[in-house]
């Protein structure tokens, strides 16, 4: 543990939209705690991460840091829901070897003045690796959802295929989302795409659903479920997909 680390501030690029005020009370040692994952060549590892009211302090910070090395031809899948803590933050620092794949689906939900964010740094260090990151954020009150995603493609990492998709859904005025894609590409034969959008609930769809008998609560739940479902498409275990969806939707039900 190093005691001379200082708390990050909003001047740090990776904390630009974060809630750095809440950091003041936390144990500095948390910044040194990393979960290291090595995915051996040719293997598949899946990690599921949940920050919810059950495992975090609603007024505190919940920081999860993952350091991942994906071996040759290996696959790493990360699915996460951030639905708890004043500041809930998942950081991923990851490197891909030749022909490896990284699949990520992230969901942030929250109201009050909470901040929930995914911060990823994905390094394509060898050729033919692929990565796909999907983040969906649903916020209300003065809640904020962020996705800061950096992708580095080194000179030798030809035929890299990297994609990022972010969509935010704001249920109330005052909520906000931020997407910061950052692509550093030094190879010339690569495909990197990123998309970001933000919107509100489709009121035409809600009236249509009401005209078929769905209450406002039921139509909102169904639309939010469809919206965040994008991030869980690649979860092939249906029960697990259902569990993650429920954590996010329950949060919504509780606060609206």
């Amino acid at each position: 543990m190093t005691q001379d680390v200082a708390f990050p501030t909003r001047k740090d690029e990776a904390w630009r939209y974060s809630d750095t005020d809440t950091l003041a009370g936390m144990d500095l040692g948390a910044f040194d705690r990393w979960q290291d994952i090595d995915v051996p060549a040719g293997e598949t590892v899946r990690e599921t991460l949940v920050i919810s009211d059950e495992n975090s302090d609603p007024d505190g910070v919940e920081l999860r840091r993952l350091r991942v090395k994906i071996g040759k031809g290996a696959r790493f899948e990360l699915f996460g829901v951030i639905a708890g803590a004043q500041l809930g933050r998942v950081e991923v620092v990851l490197t891909l070897a030749e022909g490896a794949h990284f699949e990520m689906g992230g969901i942030t939900v929250g109201g009050r003045s909470t901040v929930r964010e995914f911060v990823t740094r994905v390094a394509h260090e060898e050729p033919n690796a692929t990565s796909n990151q999907i983040v969906r954020s649903v916020h209300w009150g003065k809640g904020t959802g962020n996705f800061l995603g950096r992708i580095d493609v080194v000179r030798d990492a030809q035929k890299t295929d990297a994609a990022q998709s972010f969509k935010g859904l704001l249920l109330e005025k005052g909520a906000s989302v931020n997407a910061v894609p950052q692509l550093e590409i030094f190879a010339d034969d690569v495909k990197c795409e990123h998309g970001a959008s933000v919107g509100q609930m489709d009121e035409n769809a809600r009236f249509y659903m009401a005209a078929r008998g769905l209450s406002p609560e039921a139509s909102r739940r169904l639309l939010v479920q469809a919206f965040i479902g994008d991030a869980l498409v690649e979860v092939d275990d249906e029960a697990e997909q259902e569990r993650l969806l429920r954590i996010a939707l329950d949060k919504l039900d509780k606060h609206l």
Binding site: F207, Y208, A210, A211, G213, L214, P216, L222, A226, F227
Partner: protein, 250 residues
């Protein structure tokens, strides 16, 4: 069954319905025809309770209840079905999930037991076959990627599954080719032709009325009903046009 009295309504401060009165009895199919801008779609939206459509006067009684006092989803549970001129696409939500939730929400509102997945699929299959809509279409997302004709057929499948007491169908015939028009028309007859049910059929053209024979036809103009007659009124409109028919003394 449905009684509209002296209804006035506006959108953004502009009066669209202007003292509209109309009554539809059980067992009756009542066609509403009228020139563009007469207020036909506004009437259907006001009956459905669409936000932004403000009722400024009059009353609507549906099966003895004050319809205007109910939320849109409560109107559906009370037995009112609104067929949309432009059915809405809902990405990420399958027809099967949507309709099962909608049907069970309505059943709950009426104090009935929900249908299980299996029971629901049985009903859905039967209605899809009636409207010649591939069951696979119902597994797809609501209206997403459907052609105009498929959307209208899907609307009628929804109506069949929800089995309402009363349907307000807003230009259900628009965008249909001749074959699809017959399928949709036959569907309306099969689902809604019943002594206990009623239909308000809003249309521009006689051709749907060749398949779905109305008991009464009313002309809507400038936000009110200006003439009501039998099926022959629609035929005369088709041959003579609105201006000529409306110019006659009532």
């Amino acid at each position: 069954m449905l009684k509209i009295e002296n209804l006035t309504a506006e959108i953004d401060g502009k009066t669209i319905l202007n003292g509209l009165s109309l009554e539809v009895a059980a067992g009756e199919i009542h066609a509403i025809m009228g020139p563009n801008g007469a207020g036909k779609s506004t009437l259907s939206y006001v009956l459905g309770g669409r936000p932004g459509y403000e009722v400024t006067g009059g009353s609507v009684t549906f099966r003895g209840q004050d319809l205007l006092d109910m939320e849109p989803h409560e109107r559906a549970a009370a037995g009112l079905f609104l067929g949309f001129q432009y059915p809405v696409e809902i990405p990420g939500v399958s027809n099967v999930q949507f309709l099962r939730e909608a049907l069970n929400a309505q059943r709950k509102g009426r104090g009935e037991e929900p249908l299980s997945g299996g029971e629901f699929l049985k009903v859905a299959k039967e209605k899809a076959a009636l409207l010649k809509l591939d069951m696979d279409m119902l597994k797809r997302n609501v209206n997403v990627g459907f052609s105009g004709g498929e959307k209208k057929r899907a609307e009628m499948v929804q109506m069949g599954i929800l089995d309402p007491a009363f349907a307000v169908l807003d230009e259900t015939d628009s965008g249909l080719d001749i074959d699809a028009l017959r399928v949709v028309g036959d569907g309306i007859n099969a689902i809604m032709r019943d002594s206990g049910k009623g239909v308000l059929l809003i249309t521009h053209y006689q051709r749907l009325l060749d398949v779905v024979k109305p008991d009464k036809v009313s002309i809507l103009s400038k936000g009110r009903i200006v003439k009501t007659g039998g099926p022959d009124l629609a035929l005369r409109l088709e041959n003579e046009g609105y201006d000529a028919v409306m110019a006659e003394p009532a």
